[in-house]
Amino acid sequence: SQWGEENLQALSIQEGEDVTMNCSYKTYTTVVHWYRQDSGRGPALIILIRSNEREKRSGRLRATLDTSSQSSSLSITAAQCEDTAVYFCATDDNNNRIFFGDGTQLVVKP
């Protein structure tokens, strides 16, 4: 398997808190994708960070990538109820396919 962590993890936080989700992967990748999946819908890309980037921001989202430790993180600042979703990280094999982790179920409570 591409991933170190295989089981869906769950996080529950209060609105306004900051949260960080982590991923570790086993083999070399040129890019880490972070997707968000709302209930009953397909995943949607929220941040894509390439191997030559250490950090990438998009609004309240911040992704980091450490290629030496083969890990990536996604942080959400001042989480809101609408951030409730499953968040997946995924890596590519440089051959048209990407591998998804099992994801983190984030629940943001009002």
Partner: protein
């Protein structure tokens, strides 16, 4: 922007039945994918196609067939549905950079086998 359409939205089948799922995209993307998602799990790749009439097996291809009849459409066939099987099948498309670029997903087909 484009859109990915999957039909049907819900599919109920009988054990042993052959079932076909369809996917259409209007992004004009070269690469299309079929994933299976089980409850509480990530996405597992069944088949992908990098161009019309091309097929590449993923990690979960056994028990499935696929067909890329034209650039905009990619269908998946469950060759023999397994009793009590329940999963969501997701179709995606991407530019020719494949894994290094965004994958756009459809809403999924929910399968239940009785």
């Amino acid at each position: 922007g484009g859109i990915i359409t999957q039909t049907p939205k819900f599919l109920i089948g009988q054990e042993g039945q052959k079932l076909t799922l369809k996917c259409q995209q209007n992004f004009n993307h070269d690469t299309m994918y079929w994933y299976r998602q089980d409850s509480g799990k990530g996405l597992r790749l069944i088949y992908y196609s990098i161009t019309e009439n091309d097929l590449q097996k993923g990690d979960l291809s056994e028990g499935y067939d696929a067909s890329r009849e034209k650039k905009s459409s990619f269908s998946l066939t469950v060759t023999s549905a397994q009793k009590n099987e329940m999963a969501v099948f997701l179709c995606a498309s991407s530019s020719d950079r494949g894994g290094q670029d965004t994958q756009y997903f459809g809403p999924g087909t929910r399968l239940l086998v009785l």
